[in-house]
């Protein structure tokens, strides 16, 4: 998805690049379109107050003709601005018209402003560099020192007693017997059906055997749910946490 092909319509401005370009190369050395512009102006030794817009626009476009897409937007905006200024410069000026707004004025203002920023950056950089080389009292994480591993010094009795300790620890492994105990849902269904054949309604504690094993409880629960699903009985709980009532579903019986 990164390789999106953009076609420039202004192929005249980009004389030396193909009409369609893939934006791939990044301009990491510039911190933005204004930085790139300033660099061009400095390289070409151009008076910032009298920028030959056509030439600069052309160079700007050829420099950004290969760009990573996420950075491209800011540069493309500037490119569009340059082309627009270039067009405005070409408009005929009426003779004697005293108020002529130089279309480059806004750009010059921004460039100068940006240049000031760059100059402050130089100041900040120098100061930061100075400060970086001094350390204040602060918490510094102690470097993790791996112990220097030299030759082992151990006697045979020591080694044997170590082996003994390990063996004693390993002698009695705790083994759990895991016995598969399948749930008996069918059996539980039989129990519930038998009970409901005698009584129209019952409670959970009526069908649960005394001292029921977990598997019996689960089997009965699943049996109840299964029968409720099949419509043989109804489960009702009058309020939260109350014991639920099991009733024979008479409607399904009729059917």
């Amino acid at each position: 998805m990164d390789d999106v092909t953009l076609t420039h319509s202004s192929s005249t401005a980009v004389a030396d690049s193909a009409a369609s370009e893939v934006f791939v190369v990044e301009l990491a050395e510039y911190s933005g379109p204004l930085d790139l512009l300033l660099t061009l102006i400095r390289d070409e030794q151009i008076d910032i107050y009298d920028i030959p817009i056509a030439r600069i626009a052309e160079q700007f476009l050829s420099r950004i003709s290969s760009l990573k897409l996420d950075e491209a937007a800011d540069y493309l905006e500037m490119a569009a601005r340059l082309v627009r200024i270039k067009a405005q410069m070409l408009l005929p000026r009426r003779e004697g018209e005293d108020v002529w707004e130089d279309p480059r004025a806004e750009l010059v203002r921004r460039l100068l402003e940006y240049q000031q920023v760059r100059e402050v950056v130089d100041v900040l950089e120098r100061r930061a560099e100075d400060r970086r080389s001094r350390f204040a009292r602060a918490y510094t994480q102690a470097a993790v020192q791996m112990p220097v591993s030299g030759p082992l010094t151990i006697s045979l009795p020591e080694l044997l007693s170590a082996v003994d300790r390990v063996l004693r620890l390993a002698r009695k492994p705790q083994v759990h017997d895991v016995v598969p105990r399948a749930l008996d849902v069918d059996g539980a269904i039989g129990i519930v059906r038998a009970l409901l054949a005698i009584r129209a309604r019952a409670q959970w504690k009526d069908i649960l055997p005394r001292k029921a094993e977990p598997w019996e409880v689960l089997s009965l629960l699943l049996a109840l749910l299964e029968l409720a699903k099949q419509g043989e009985l109804r489960l009702a709980q009058p309020r939260a946490f109350a014991a639920f009532e099991i009733t024979r579903d008479s409607s399904s019986e009729a059917a």
Binding site: D74, A128, R131, A136
Partner: protein, 176 residues
């Protein structure tokens, strides 16, 4: 009475600091007393940086990128300032950089602007002063001290350096 007391205390403190500084200076210590961010800090001398790093007692913090420094410079001069204004000056989106500057504790949200959506406004922190070895913001060069000072504008050109409180409203001199 109170004021006199406070002044006394301040004088005592000043002379004590002086004494401490001389002590570090004259007795060949590896540290020195430096005034920074409205306070004082005992810092190791630059000539020992390499030795300290070689001994792995401390490591130099990472440098900031050019983009981050530019953003920081704009905030330092124009604070409180919103993101849109920063982006306009730099001509580049500033979201990610602002986030990392916030994380590094160099800037902080200082309020909300009046404009649409009441944008967050950013300003520098005391930690910024400390990390750039500044006693206070006024130590940054004024806009008319910069080599490329703005020319007297035809329409009002806001100078970058508006914030430091020197309060001279006159137009900066021409660069040439």
């Amino acid at each position: 009475m109170m004021a006199a007391h406070a002044e006394d205390g301040e004088n005592t403190l000043e002379s004590a600091l002086e004494e401490l500084r001389d002590h570090y200076e004259n007795d060949g210590h590896g540290v020195e007393l430096v005034e920074v961010a409205g306070g004082w800090q005992i810092l190791t001398r630059p000539e020992y940086t390499e030795a300290i790093e070689r001994a792995q007692l401390a490591a130099r913090p990472q440098r900031l990128s050019a983009a981050a420094l530019e953003t920081l410079a704009i905030i330092a001069y124009r604070q409180p300032i919103g993101r849109a204004e920063i982006e306009e000056i730099r001509g580049v989106g500033a979201g990610a950089i602002l986030k990392s500057l916030l994380e590094r504790g160099l800037i902080d949200v200082t309020g909300r602007g009046e404009g649409l959506g009441r944008p967050l406004l950013y300003g520098t922190t005391p930690s910024f002063l400390e990390q750039f070895a500044l006693r206070h913001l006024e130590e940054l060069p004024r806009s008319d001290e910069l080599a490329i000072a703005l020319r007297a504008p035809r329409q009002a050109m806001p100078a970058v350096a508006a914030a430091p409180t020197r309060g001279n409203g006159e137009a900066p001199p021409r660069a040439d």
